[in-house]
């Protein structure tokens, strides 16, 4: 199986625009997910730079307060709903059918629908910038009463409509993943031989399926309150503002696992390949993933400790408990690296970046679960530091690792290693320069979501450092885009399996032909390609 007869320059890349717009091929849809997500990553990044530029020193220099509010609201909305969640779904789309030896997703046309709802929802959301009153500006959480009709214009309605479409896209995608994983696996691909990425996508899909509709219900109630005279969240008329927070976080806390589990899956694909060892404790890892998913539904109110209307000990305890399966994973990853034959190619660099930065994010997260600590740091920059260590230091590093790892499979060409390493180093430095000072800012009492602060607060230096870091991160993307452009034309030809990898996507040509496989190797373990390479094709 090492070589396949198919020409790497198969129609997958060369087909015309019409073919891309109408495709139901999971690989093309997966690539469109990636491109669309990176587009929103750039837009969200520009908004972040606006926020950072404004905060660099006391006083208002660049934008108005009202635009500042729109900028941080839309930054978070783009990054969470239109970058991290969909780009991970994009990796799932591209990789999961290949890894389980399936010809495509279970419902290819619904798959295309899931994708096309994203640019549509994103455009709706972003169009808020062009209506009077501007885009949504109450923070990505859109708490009432601040998000009520008396304070916000059409931009918030567009935000609600856009997010509803994006949620629908996620729900349809999760159904597709679940049916694909349960029904489309190749002969021999038992559940406990599935690659870890497939497991994480499976658990993530369950979370999406169960949590996202609850967000939809919160959004329609908010929309009704704003537009049809409803009173769901209006305490003056018998409603409850905390109700919104409960319903919203019932989605949005599991959502952080939706944003991290597939990233953990990517890292768990990369580490064994680049340390030339099997993943340490495969089954423990699977159960830890399921454990995180299950516990993820019982911690939402830790975002609401200071409302005074939630049962603190329960939600605090459950939040601490999540550190247990997460710790199991951390142990597995380190044990996988331990005494491995490490080759520090770019994907492994990003994976180790993930391990170290996510560890910090995890520790300061568990720290925040302690009720007294939370009361002190609630709504300060500490929380901003935490979420970025988890979602940037965690998810984004894993995403770039995934891009470097699977780019050869998607395009048939390698990304340049030199530029990749340069990008990693700059991004790693910029990331820590941006977000580490935010811990101190939070402890010093700087609230999140403020456009200005007094110079007497003593926050100026740390803010300036964070702003410089933000621009360093932005700069680190230049070598990346240059790398992609150059490598698409002149990159080293990848061949079927440039990394000496373990899983089935490397058993077909790069890029794979339509319907993926001419011929599948025998699947006797969770590393079928490794088995085939080393001649271990008999059962044992």
């Amino acid at each position: 199986m090492a070589t396949t007869t198919l020409n790497p320059a198969a129609p997958a890349v060369r087909s015309g625009l019409y073919e891309w717009l109408t495709t139901t091929d999971h690989k093309k849809i997966g690539i469109m997910y990636l491109i669309n997500s990176i587009l929103f990553f750039v837009m969200g990044g520009i908004l972040a730079l606006i926020v950072r530029a404004e905060l660099a020193q006391p006083g208002m220099q660049f934008v108005s307060e009202s635009f500042y509010n729109q900028a941080f609201t839309m930054h978070a909305s783009f990054m969470l709903f239109l970058f991290v969640i969909p780009i991970l779904a994009g990796f799932g789309n591209y990789v999961v059918p290949l890894q389980i030896g399936a010809p495509d997703m279970a419902f290819p046309r619904i798959n295309a629908l899931s994708f096309w709802l994203l640019p549509l929802g994103g455009a709706l959301m972003a169009s808020g910038f062009f209506v009077s009153g501007g885009a949504a500006a109450s923070g990505w959480t859109e708490y009432p009463p601040l998000s009520g009709a008396q304070f916000n214009g059409t931009g918030t309605d567009l935000w609600i409509m856009g997010l509803t479409l994006i949620g629908t896209s996620s729900i349809l995608g999760s159904i597709n993943f679940l049916v694909t994983i349960f029904k489309m696996r190749a002969p021999g691909m038992t559940l406990f031989r599935m690659p870890i990425l497939v497991w994480t996508v499976l658990v993530t899909s369950v979370l999406v399926l169960m949590a996202t509709p609850v967000l939809t219900s919160a959004l329609v109630m908010l929309f009704i309150d704003r537009n049809y005279g409803g009173h769901f969240f209006d305490p003056a008329n018998g409603g409850s503002a905390v109700l919104y927070q409960n319903v919203f976080w019932f989605y949005s806390h599991p959502a952080v696992y939706i944003m991290i589990l597939p990233a953990m899956g990517i890292v768990s694909e990369i580490l064994p390949v680049f340390s030339r060892k099997p993943l340490f404790g495969y089954k423990a890892f699977v159960f830890a993933t399921v454990g995180i998913g299950a516990l993820g539904f019982s911690v939402w109110a830790h975002h609401m400790f200071t409302t005074g209307s939630v049962f603190l000990p329960f939600f605090s305890l459950m939040t601490f408990l999540i550190a247990v399966p997460t710790g199991v994973k951390m142990f597995n990853w380190i044990a996988t690296l331990w005494r491995g034959k490490l080759s520090f190619d770019t994907p492994l660099l990003y994976a180790t970046g993930f391990l170290t930065m996510f560890l910090i994010g995890g520790i300061n997260g568990a720290f925040s679960a302690a009720v007294p600590v939370d009361f002190a740091i609630h709504d300060t920059y500490w929380v901003v530091a935490h979420i970025h260590y988890v979602l940037f230091g965690g998810s984004v590093f894993a995403i770039f690792g995934g891009i470097y790892y699977w780019f050869p499979k998607m395009t048939g060409r390698m990304l340049g290693e030199g530029l990749g390493k340069i990008q990693f180093v700059i991004m790693f430095i910029g990331f820590n320069l941006t977000f580490f000072p935010m811990h101190q800012l939070g402890l010093a009492g700087m609230p999140r979501r403020i456009a200005d602060y007094a110079s007497s607060t003593g926050w100026s230096e740390l803010n300036l450092a964070a702003t410089i870091g933000g621009f360093v991160i932005a700069f680190s993307l230049l070598p990346f885009f240059w790398n992609v452009l150059v490598s698409l034309r002149n990159g080293k030809i990848a061949g079927d399996d440039p990394w000496g990898a373990n899983t089935l996507e490397w058993a077909t040509s790069s890029p794979p032909p339509p319907y993926n496989f001419d011929h599948l190797p025998e699947i006797r373990s969770e590393r079928p390609v490794f088995d085939a390479r080393h001649g271990r094709t008999s059962a044992h």
């Binding site: 159904i175 679940l178 190749a186 509709p213 005279g229 008329n237 409603g239 409850s240």
Partner: protein, 235 residues
């Protein structure tokens, strides 16, 4: 399909084998049916969010006279399910509408049973009846809405009005979606696309229809029957 070669009996067309064709690996439940079950799971969570809001608001509601009461006294007479006329003499169709929706679930299932036997006429006839019953439910709901709004129960009239119209409204939207699905399936059925072996879409549609029916039964019980109980006991 290798195992099926051995079972060339007269019962080769039982429904257990009907799904084995499409599956890539194993047999069992068909992809569209599994997909629909998962979709229904997500819909359950959507309505769960609305019910959570309903019960939260209900638990905290204080009527205009300062008494804890649900529904508000002003709309109490309107929401008596077993009175055929309101105080102003208009028809109250909520119980007939409920009966019609439950009946439509029965006819829908009869249609599925028919196509499993290979009886296309029976399947089409039952699905047509289901479609008509579903449409009738929607018309009756529209009429009911007009009565309630005339009597002053609107979206903005207390949190009861908000929850009432949101929940029954989203249920109505789901019935409408179900009617569209029934229409598509009936149209495809007329083109002869379903048989005793191939009817996953029929089954998936019927599952959705039953789900919509069950949501209504829960809604009806919570909105109309539960207040009857609490009125009998302590307020």
């Amino acid at each position: 399909m290798t195992a099926d070669a051995t079972s060339l009996t007269t019962q080769a067309e039982t429904q257990t084998e009907a799904h084995a064709v499409e599956a890539h690996g194993s047999g069992g439940i068909g992809n569209p049916v599994l997909g629909m079950l998962l979709f229904i799971a997500s819909e359950v969570m959507f309505f769960a969010g609305l019910f959570a809001a309903y019960f939260t608001i209900r638990a905290n509601f204080i009527d205009i006279d300062g008494v804890r009461r649900w529904p508000p006294l002003a709309y109490d007479a309107l929401l008596q399910p077993f009175r055929l006329f309101t105080d102003s003499g208009q028809l109250n169709l909520i119980v007939p509408a409920t009966i019609i929706l439950i009946l439509s679930s029965v006819t829908c299932q009869l249609g599925v049973n028919a196509i499993k036997r290979g009886d296309r006429t029976g399947f089409l006839r039952n699905f047509a009846v289901t479609l008509v019953l579903g449409g009738t439910f929607l018309l009756m709901q529209a009429y009911d809405y007009s009565v309630l709004i005339n009597e002053g129960l609107t979206m903005g009239a207390t949190t009861f009005g908000t929850t009432y119209f949101t929940m029954t409204g989203f249920h109505g939207a789901h019935v409408f979606g179900g009617v569209l699905m029934l229409g598509v399936v009936a149209y495809r059925g007329m083109a002869g696309q379903f048989s005793a072996k191939h009817h996953d879409m029929v089954e998936a549609t019927s599952l959705y229809w039953h789900f919509v029916d069950i949501v209504w039964i829960v809604l009806f019980s919570v909105i109309y029957l539960l207040p009857l109980l609490s009125r009998k006991g302590a307020l």
